[in-house]
Structures are given as C-alpha cells and as structure tokens.
C-alpha cells in the first residue's frame, strides 16, 4: 500500500528516467565497456577483456595529468567565485532595469563562439598584440612582453570562458534572498559585513555550489583553450582524451581516462557536498550536488 503510494508519487519521474537513461545511460555504459576492451595495431577496437587501460592510467605521467587538471579546475572555480560573487551580488542589488541589462551583458559573450573569444585573447596578449603595441606605443616598454603560452594564460582564458556560469548561478540565489532578513539583521545592529557573513553568504551557498559545479566540470574538459593559449605545452585531461581519440587512435584508453575523470569529479563533488552540508547545517541536502 505504502509502496503503491510511493510509486504513484514517483510516476511522473518515469519519462525523465527513461529519456536520460537511454540518451546518457547507454553512451555511458558504452564508454565503461569500451574502457575494458583492447585494440589492435590499426586502432580498431577488439572485443577482448583487459585491465591494461586502467593500469596505464596509473602511469606516473598520467597521474601528473590528473593532478594538473584538478589543479586548473580548482583554481578556475575559486577565481571565478572570488571575482564572480561580487559581480552577482552587486548585480542583484541593482535597480530592476539595470539589473536586466547587466544580466544580458553577462550572458552576451556566450553568443560569440568560444573559439573566437580565445582568439580575442591571442589578439590581446600576443607578441604583436594590442597590449604590447599599446605599451610600446607609449614607450612604457621597448620589447614586447611575452604573455602567451604560460599556465597563467590558460588559467585566465579558462576562467574568462566560464565565469558567466558562476555569476548566473550565484545571482539566482542572491536575487531571491529575503530582503526582510537583511533588514532585520541591520535592525538588530549587525554591521554590513557581519550581516553579509552571517546571513547573505550562508543563504547563497546553494548558488555558489551550483556555480562551482557548472565551472569545475567543464574546466576539466576544455581543450582548445590550453592548446591555443598555452601553446600546447601543458597536458590536461580534456586534451589528453581528445588527442587519444583524434590522433592516438586509442579509444579504449580514452574511455578509461573518461571513466577516471568521471570518478575523480564524483569524488571532488562528494567532498564538496560534505563541506557545503557542514556549513549549511544540512539544510541543502537535496541540492544538485
């Protein structure tokens, strides 16, 4: 009887489960299966069970790639959060019309192909780029500064590409904040900063968490930013998987790396959700992460 009730309650979810189960589930299962298969010399997949691909992931070089990617993704998430939070917060506090305009302006860059936006950075930072030309033109420097092909260039590009996700997610929760709570806090004599840290920040943690998810995961998979801005000198998971498929003709190994990456993300998200839960006293048990 109880089960029947539960089933009835859950019935509307069935189409979603089926839809995603088929469109994501099957490809995902396929990736997992592929990661246990071998390949022949030509790069064709051979149906023969092997653990070799997983053994190879643990090669010290590849471990380094994992760490490298984790480092970039974490750093990107924090940078976008630190820069993006005030943007989201200030935007949410703008008057209605300006607010809509600001949100539009934050979203608009998405309309320009990310490849071209990356080229935009090359135009800016390159040896004969705008910044160098400007600095030389004003006699501030006499030799072009080399700003390209560094880890910091990749970081800048990645953070630039993903920051709108962070801002929009945080904005969504700041915007819905109950103003009366803040006013109550002021009335009780709490200062601006105290109110912010005691009330605003904890209440917007779901937004930050959402933003973190939306930035952290894609930053692991982006590949052309590090190729174009980093001069191909660093290897990240996204590049590695990409080049294993498009150059290395090793789909099973690429699949194993994909599985490794998924597990890594899940672990990070799990740790992260624990942290969030501790900070919000478990109030956010059912958020997306």
């Amino acid at each position: 009887m109880v089960d029947m009730k539960k089933f009835k309650q859950n019935a509307p979810a069935i189409p979603i489960l089926v839809w995603f189960g088929i469109l994501v589930g099957i490809p995902l299962i396929f990736v997992v299966i592929l990661s246990f298969l071998s390949r022949d010399e030509l790069g064709n997949i051979v149906v023969r069970f092997t653990l070799d691909n997983y053994k190879r992931i643990f090669d010290p070089i590849y471990i380094k790639v994992f760490i490298n990617s984790l480092f970039l993704a974490t750093l990107t998430s924090f940078i976008t959060m630190i820069i993006g939070y005030p943007v989201a917060y200030f935007t949410a506090n703008l008057e209605k019309k300006k607010k809509a305009l600001a949100i539009l302006l934050i979203m608009l860059p998405f309309w320009i192909s990310s490849l071209l936006r990356t080229y935009g950075w090359i135009i800016l930072l390159g040896n004969t780029g705008l910044v160098n030309n400007l600095l030389i033109g004003f006699n501030i420097i006499d030799k072009p500064l080399s700003m390209m092909y560094k880890f910091s260039t990749i970081l800048t590009g990645t953070a630039y590409m993903l920051i709108p996700f962070m801002i929009i997610a945080i904005y969504n929760s700041v915007d819905k904040l109950d103003r009366s709570l803040l006013e109550a806090s002021y009335d009780l004599g709490a200062g601006k900063w105290k109110t912010f840290f005691k009330i605003t920040l904890p209440l917007t943690i779901p937004g930050i968490a959402g933003g973190f998810t939306l930035v952290f995961i894609p930053s692991l998979g982006l590949f052309f930013i590090s190729d174009l801005l980093g001069g191909g000198k660093n290897i990240f998971l996204g590049n590695l998987i990409n080049s294993l498929i498009t150059k290395g003709r090793n789909k099973p190994l690429a699949a194993a790396f994909s599985v490794g990456m998924i597990i890594m993300v899940l672990i990070v998200l799990f740790i992260y959700s624990r942290l969030v839960k501790r900070n919000t006293g478990g109030a956010d048990e059912n958020s997306i992460i």
Partner: protein
C-alpha cells in the same frame, strides 16, 4: 558613506564588464584587419564583410546552427523545467536519482560522449542531421535549465505551496499559478544559455552532424587548419550587433508594456 560604497560597486562592475568585453572587442576590431591572420594588424578593410556575404557555406552553416540552437533551447527549456518541477513532487530518493542523472551528461568528456553517441545513433540507424544534433545538444543543455530552475525553486517558500494545497488547489493549478511564474526568469535565462551553448558546441556537433548539416562552429573549427580568416570575426561582429539590436527593440517594448501596466494599476 553610502555614495562611496555605491561608487565602489559601480567601479567594480564596470571594470568587470570592460574585462569581459575587451577580448570580444578585439575580435570585432580584427574583423577590419587586412591581414588574414591574427598575427599582425596591417590596415583597415571592409573586404571581409563583403566576402562573408558571398560565402554561402558560412551563411548556410550559420542557418543550421540557429535552427539547431532554437530547437534545442525550446526543447531543453520544456524538459529541464518539467524535470525540475517533477523533482519537487517525487520522493527524496527519486529526487536524488534525478539530480544524479542530470549531472551525468556534464561529467562525461565531450569527445567520449560524442563518439559513443555516434556509435549509438548509427546502430539505431538514426539519420544524422538536425535530429541527432538537437538530441545531443539537449543532453548538455537540459541539465543547465534543470540546475537553474531548481536553484530558483529551492528558494520558494514551501508554505505557499502548502497553503495552496490546503485551499484545495490541484497540482496543475499550483504549478501554473505559483511555480511557473516564480521560476519564469530562470527559465528565460537558462534557455538563453542553452541557445548560446548549442551555438557554441564543436566537439559533439562534429560527430552528430551529417553531410548536409554542418554547424557554424564545426565549420570554423575546421577552418583552423588553414587559418581562421577575419570573415568569421565579421560574422561574429554582425551576430553581436544583431543581438544588441534585438535587445534594444525588446527594451523599447518592455518600456511600453511597463507603462501600460502602470496605467492599468492606476
């Protein structure tokens, strides 16, 4: 004191927007560059715009991209919002399951997803074209709609819904009169986001497009091999201008509307 903090806020926001738009403005600037590569500025020209309009491949692929993006964003908005709303009615366990499921497409690396979808769809004998593009794009767009709408839903006071229930409102009525209006802004922002993400996708589209449905990013990406010409910059400049134009128009309309509303209230 208050004005000082206001100034500081304005300054911060302005600075942020400047940095956000400087790379884009450089793209715009270089659409007027005589030199076909980004390596140097060699003089002003409008040639790329002329070439753009005679390049039927770019225009065609842009059309394909727009169709795919619009269908994807409508489809994702419906599916994502429906999922988010369903998720508040089901049991906690089921909600968690849906949450997890929504995260999956974002977790799988794009290339891996692209290749496995290629094999999956071709084994189903699906024709590669608009359908496969929209299906695959909606995979990574629905989660964004879902997350955004859910974030908004979380903020809705449960007591409102409970009160409505006590008053005997049916589920559909609650959804229609309370939930949908509340999450509407999120639906709009997230479908705009879906539109943009679909317009920007390269990797999955490479595997999902058929011989007659090359999307703009796939075309641009394949141009990289021989150098992306400022023609593409020119197209992006026009897209940007077009978007500003649309925003301008909607701004005018919303002004009219808000005036009307004010009059009605009076």
């Amino acid at each position: 004191m208050k004005t000082q903090s206001y100034k500081l806020r304005t300054f911060y926001l302005s600075l942020f927007f400047v940095i956000l738009y400087v790379p884009i403005l450089s793209v715009v600037l270089y659409s007027f560059n005589k030199n076909p590569s980004t390596a140097q500025w060699t003089g002003f020209t409008l040639d790329w715009y002329r070439e753009l309009f005679s390049d039927r491949i770019i225009l065609e692929s842009f059309k394909v991209s727009m169709i795919v993006a619009i269908l994807t964003s409508i489809f994702s908005a419906i599916l994502g919002t429906a999922s988010a709303i369903i998720a508040i009615y089901v049991t906690k366990k089921m909600e968690k399951a849906i949450n997890g499921l929504m995260l999956l497409p974002l977790l799988v690396p794009e290339v891996a997803l692209g290749v496995s979808l290629l094999l999956f769809f071709s084994s189903m004998r699906l024709p590669f074209g608009y359908m496969t593009l929209v299906l695959s794009h909606s995979l990574f767009c629905v989660p964004y709609v879902y997350i955004m709408v859910q974030l908004r839903l979380k903020e809705i006071d449960n007591s409102i819904i409970e009160a409505a229930k006590d008053l005997g409102a049916a589920r559909w009525q609650i959804i229609k009169t309370i939930i949908l209006p509340l999450v509407f802004p999120s639906i709009i922002t997230s479908s705009l986001l879906s539109l943009a993400m679909s317009l920007d996708d390269v990797v999955i589209s490479t595997y999902m497009s058929g011989p007659t449905s090359t999307t703009l990013p796939v075309h641009v990406f394949s141009m990289m091999r021989v150098g992306v010409t400022p023609k593409v910059n020119a197209l992006c400049t026009l897209i940007l201008l077009g978007t500003f134009f649309i925003i301008g128009i909607s701004e005018v309309f919303s002004k009219k509307n808000s005036k009307k509303e004010e009059e009605e209230v009076d």
